[in-house]
Structures are given as structure tokens and as C-alpha cells.
């Protein structure tokens, strides 16, 4: 991770709730990949004391594009300080065929870049949306992605089929519900598979509000089976097999 500066080249409103910022970033961030994020602070101070975690949805013409809520107002030409990259690249299985992504009550922004990459390399992607996630503008996702709708109890058509069909599952819940939702998902999956759930099969995304983003403050800690994990440095995708649900 390094501290660099970036310039907001373009501010594009993509829905009532979301805007995309096109950022000219330092060369050292050229290698940023899906899963990693930017920990940002406008140089002119801005409204919030802490930095904000900006999640990239892709790279266009060498510029990193991030998707942020419209509440905060940004202007082209604005300079931001970035601590980046924060977190790890999504850990994808070798020769992945079928990816199942699940977003319930949380905007699927973290899946946009991932889905595009997967489709590009010919993998089949199914995205289950539920609750608030249903409000997300689907045109922002690759056309090849199959969309399913989940109900409020995280059930969706052919749930068992899709879960068994998938080589890998990544779920996204709202931060206040991680413990319950991811535990529930893990149980469901363990019941499906007589043998143990394999490592690297089902992941939860952890986007706690970060204080430091560097692994220092421990505010984003996730209790682990063997060792504890940190959302900022080990995440955002955490293998649920490694999480100690209390």
C-alpha cells in the first residue's frame, strides 16, 4: 500500500443513488484488480473525518472508475489522497466454470468488475439479487450475467441447483448482518454437501467502515477459526470456512 494522489476526471451519475468517479491515478496503481479498493480523502478536507473506501467497478482508458453514493458531492478536477490498494484481489479458483454471486440488501457494486472479468474469460456467472440489491441498475452489469431474484429470507428459485452447480460462491450482505447471514449461508451449503465444505469454495465479502485501512486499529477484525482476520488487509473476500461464527 502507498499514499498517492489522484484527480477526479469525470463524475457520472448512474442512478438516483449512485455516481461513478473516473480517476487518473498514480502509475503504482496500474496493477489494481477486482477486489482491491481505494481508501480516499479529498485534499480539500471534504465532509467526513475518516477516509472512505472506494470500490472500483473497472478500468476505462487507464482511469480507475469507482462507484460511490450520491450523497457526497465531487467535482471534476478535484484532487484526492489515496491509500491504496486496500485488500486482496478476489481469490478465484483455477479453471473456474460456474460462479455464483449473491447480494442481498447490499448494492452489488463489488461484483461489477469481477463479473466482467469472469465473463471475459468465458466463465458462467449467476447473480442473485435480493432486497435493496434489486434496486441496482442492471445495465451496469455485463449482459451475459444471469440474474435471479431472492426473497427476504435469502431463498431463490432452484437454490439447491445453483448452489451445487457453482464451483465457487461469493456473498454480500449489509455490514450489520454479516454474522447471521454468512453463518446461515455456510450452514445451508454444509447441509447440501455431505462431505465438508471445501476450502476456497464459499466467501463472504466484508466491507466494515474502516478506521485505518492498514491493519493497525483492529476495528475491522473478524474472529477466525485458527487466527483472526482483518477485513481491510485479508478481505474483502473471506473464506467462510476460516470464520469463527459466534
Amino acid at each position: 500500500m502507498r499514499e498517492t494522489q489522484a484527480i477526479i476526471e469525470r463524475v457520472r451519475r448512474v442512478s438516483d443513488a449512485l455516481q461513478q468517479l473516473h480517476l487518473s491515478v498514480d502509475a503504482s496503481l496500474a496493477q489494481t484488480q477486482a477486489g482491491q479498493s481505494l481508501f480516499a480523502a479529498p485534499l480539500d478536507g471534504g465532509e467526513s473525518y475518516l477516509r472512505e473506501q472506494w470500490i472500483p467497478v473497472g478500468v476505462r482508458a487507464g482511469q480507475i472508475v469507482v462507484e460511490v453514493p450520491v450523497e457526497r458531492s465531487y467535482a471534476p478536477g478535484q484532487v484526492v489522497s489515496l491509500l491504496a490498494p486496500v485488500g486482496r484481489v478476489f481469490p478465484l479458483r483455477a479453471n473456474l466454470q460456474h460462479m455464483l454471486l449473491i447480494a442481498n440488501d447490499a448494492l452489488p457494486t463489488p461484483f461489477v468488475w469481477l463479473a466482467a472479468d469472469l465473463c471475459a474469460r468465458g466463465a458462467a456467472v449467476t447473480l442473485v439479487l435480493g432486497g435493496q440489491a434489486l434496486g441496482y441498475p442492471l445495465e451496469l452489469l455485463p449482459a451475459e450475467v444471469e440474474i435471479l431474484r431472492a426473497d427476504t429470507d435469502w431463498r431463490w428459485p432452484d437454490q439447491v441447483e445453483t448452489l451445487t452447480w457453482a464451483d465457487q460462491v461469493i456473498a454480500l450482505a449489509p455490514s450489520y448482518a454479516y454474522a447471521d447471514v454468512y453463518a446461515g449461508l455456510y450452514d445451508t451449503i454444509s447441509q447440501l454437501r455431505v462431505q465438508n465444505v471445501p476450502e476456497g469454495y464459499v466467501f463472504g465479502l466484508f466491507y466494515y467502515r474502516l478506521a485505518c485501512g492498514t491493519g493497525a486499529c483492529l476495528a475491522c477484525q473478524i474472529p477466525g477459526q485458527k487466527t483472526d482476520l482483518l477485513a481491510c488487509t485479508d478481505g474483502p473476500a473471506i473464506d467462510l470456512k476460516k470464520v469463527a461464527f459466534r
Binding site: M1, Y49, Y208, R209, C217, L218, C220, P223
Partner: protein
């Protein structure tokens, strides 16, 4: 060269009066190694360590405040022994002295931690974090327990609200230095959950409260005082030195602008801190608060002892705190 703790059997000497506060920098240098030149710091203070492992708190842990933040981590840590296994190696390799922050959960636990770290290479000193509800008696027991089990220099970090009374108790019990102060607790509503959350609060506004407490303690302390709370700039840090601190601990600005920690260290690095500890108050020329002098001194912002306290006839900004001892 700054003597951070009282001269005696062992004392901690540092090259720079600036270091991070407990809980802000991690258990070693690694979180900020790529972001700042750790070698420019006077020391590293580790995250809080308890004898028994502690799990992270549940519920919201980071809640925004007006120009600040509330943090409620629950002081997660794997316990003293596993912390040593994981980090002692790096501590030994650290460019700057490592001060291990021990949470004062109980005298017995503190004793165990003290002897564990005593035997651990690469630990330069211990900082004991007093609990907010600690009484002077608790402090006496806790410091005694540590003293009995280690020769390491002992810093005691005192809660803001009881700073003077607990600082007195800590010094009397043999503490080597005082850290003024641990951030206060607050309660705020988490916008995401609508839930009320309690925890430590950080931000630039904390400085006014911490600076006053530092000044009050420096007036009575016979041992070195380290100022801490809301420092966000070199000038903030100088104010604490001027208030009688020999060094400072920087807190949440490390999270928002990591480089500022190094900037503050570089700025204060030049300082010659030869003042007798606690004597600063006397060195101030009383009459100087008086308006015409102020006019002459106007705009001057130095760490010299000339910068004047408020006029005699107006109350001092850190009045000699008689009666403040709850005892």
C-alpha cells in the same frame, strides 16, 4: 536524546519526542512501514495487550462523529503469550524502541504480562493502560504489580477524566512516566443501524481537553509527562511540549493522514528538551500575559518559554489542581 522515563535502575532514552498512541499503529511497525519512515519516530507503542486473549467487540465499531470518530474495538488481541510469539521477532528488529501497551485488566494479569515481557527481547518499556473506572487504589496495586515483575521502564497511561488524581497515584506507586491522556468514552448513534454505540472518541477537538489535563499534570508531576490527545499538526504537538510534556503520542490522524505522524516527528526532532521536568510552569514569566506584552509577542509561535500563560488575574488554563484528588 530525550529521557522518556524517570532516571533510575533503567530509563528509556529516545531520539525523537514523537510516537504513535496505543491502538493506533498496530502491534509493530508493519502496518505503516510502506507509508512512513518509521525510523524517524521516537518509539512505537503497540496495540493494547491483555494477559488473556480478547475477542473483537460485536456491533458497530467505527461510527463517524462531527469532525471525529468513535471507535469501539473491544481491544481484541490474542493474549500476551501469543502476541510475543507473533511479534517479538519484529520488535527485536525494530529501528526504534518498542513500548508494549498492557491493558490493566487486573493486578494479577498485569503482573503476568510484566514478567512475560520482561523475558522478551526487543521490548524497551511497558505502557500500562488504566481502565476508565480505575481508582487511585487500583492504580497503586496495578503499578506495584508491574514494578514487582519487571525492570523495564514503566509508562502509565491515564484516563482523561481522572488525570490529576490517577497521575499522582501512579507516580507515588513508582511509575517511570505518565501518558496524559487516554481518550474519553462517548456514546453516539450509528447511522447505519440506528443503534447507540459506546466507545473511545477521537478527533481534533479532543486536543483542548487533553492539553489542559497535560498542563495540569505537568505542574505537579516529578516524572516525565507524555502528552496525547487530538494532536493533528506540529503546532498541536508543540503546544503539549510547551505545557510541560517531554514527548507526545499522536492518535487518529495516523489513520486519516499517515504521513502527518512523520511530519510531526521531523518538526519536533530539532527540539532540545533540556527543561527540568515539571519546572516549565515556573519558567513562564507570570506578568507576560498582560496585553501589551501579548501585542509584542503577537503572532510568535515558538516552543520557547516566553509564550505567555493567561494573565495572573485571570484563572490559569490549568489551575494548580488543589482538591482535585477525590481522596
Amino acid at each position: 536524546m530525550i529521557e522518556l522515563t524517570r532516571p533510575g535502575k533503567t530509563s528509556l532514552i529516545v531520539n525523537n519526542p514523537v510516537m504513535p498512541a496505543a491502538g493506533t499503529f498496530g502491534f509493530d511497525y508493519s502496518p505503516y512501514r510502506d507509508l512512513i519512515d518509521v525510523g524517524k519516530l521516537g518509539a512505537i507503542v503497540t496495540n493494547p495487550v491483555t494477559w488473556r486473549p480478547r475477542q473483537v467487540a460485536r456491533g458497530p465499531r467505527v461510527v463517524p462523529l462531527p469532525s471525529g470518530v468513535l471507535i469501539h474495538t473491544g481491544l481484541p488481541n490474542p493474549g500476551a503469550n501469543r502476541v510475543i510469539k507473533q511479534y517479538a521477532g519484529r520488535w527485536a528488529r525494530s529501528e526504534v524502541p518498542v513500548i508494549v501497551h498492557v491493558v490493566a485488566t487486573s493486578p494479577a494479569d498485569v503482573a503476568r504480562c510484566a514478567s512475560a515481557f520482561e523475558r522478551c527481547q526487543g521490548v524497551a518499556a511497558l505502557e500500562i493502560g488504566l481502565h476508565d473506572q480505575a481508582t487511585p487504589d487500583d492504580v497503586a496495586q496495578i503499578v506495584a504489580a508491574a514494578e514487582a515483575n519487571t525492570l523495564l521502564p514503566l509508562l502509565v497511561r491515564v484516563p482523561l477524566y481522572q488525570a490529576v488524581a490517577l497521575a499522582r497515584a501512579a507516580e507515588a506507586a513508582g511509575a517511570g512516566a505518565l501518558v496524559i491522556a487516554a481518550p474519553p468514552r462517548g456514546t453516539t448513534r450509528d447511522p447505519e443501524t440506528g443503534q447507540l454505540v459506546g466507545g473511545r472518541i477521537y478527533g481534533p477537538w479532543l486536543k483542548a481537553q487533553a492539553l489542559r489535563a497535560t498542563g495540569q499534570v505537568a505542574q505537579i508531576a516529578g516524572i516525565p509527562v507524555i502528552g496525547s490527545g487530538g494532536i493533528h499538526s506540529p503546532d498541536d504537538a508543540r503546544d503539549f511540549i510547551e505545557a510541560g510534556a517531554v514527548a507526545v503520542q499522536v492518535d487518529s490522524v495516523i489513520w486519516t493522514q499517515p504521513r502527518m505522524l512523520e511530519v510531526i516527528a521531523r518538526n519536533l526532532g530539532g527540539l532540545e528538551l533540556t527543561r527540568a521536568v515539571g519546572a516549565l510552569g515556573d519558567e513562564w514569566e507570570p506578568g507576560l500575559g498582560h496585553t501589551m506584552q501579548i501585542k509584542r509577542e503577537r503572532g510568535r509561535r515558538s516552543t520557547s518559554t516566553k509564550d505567555e500563560p493567561p494573565p495572573d488575574d485571570s484563572p490559569p488554563d490549568w489551575p494548580a489542581p488543589k482538591n482535585e484528588d477525590p481522596a
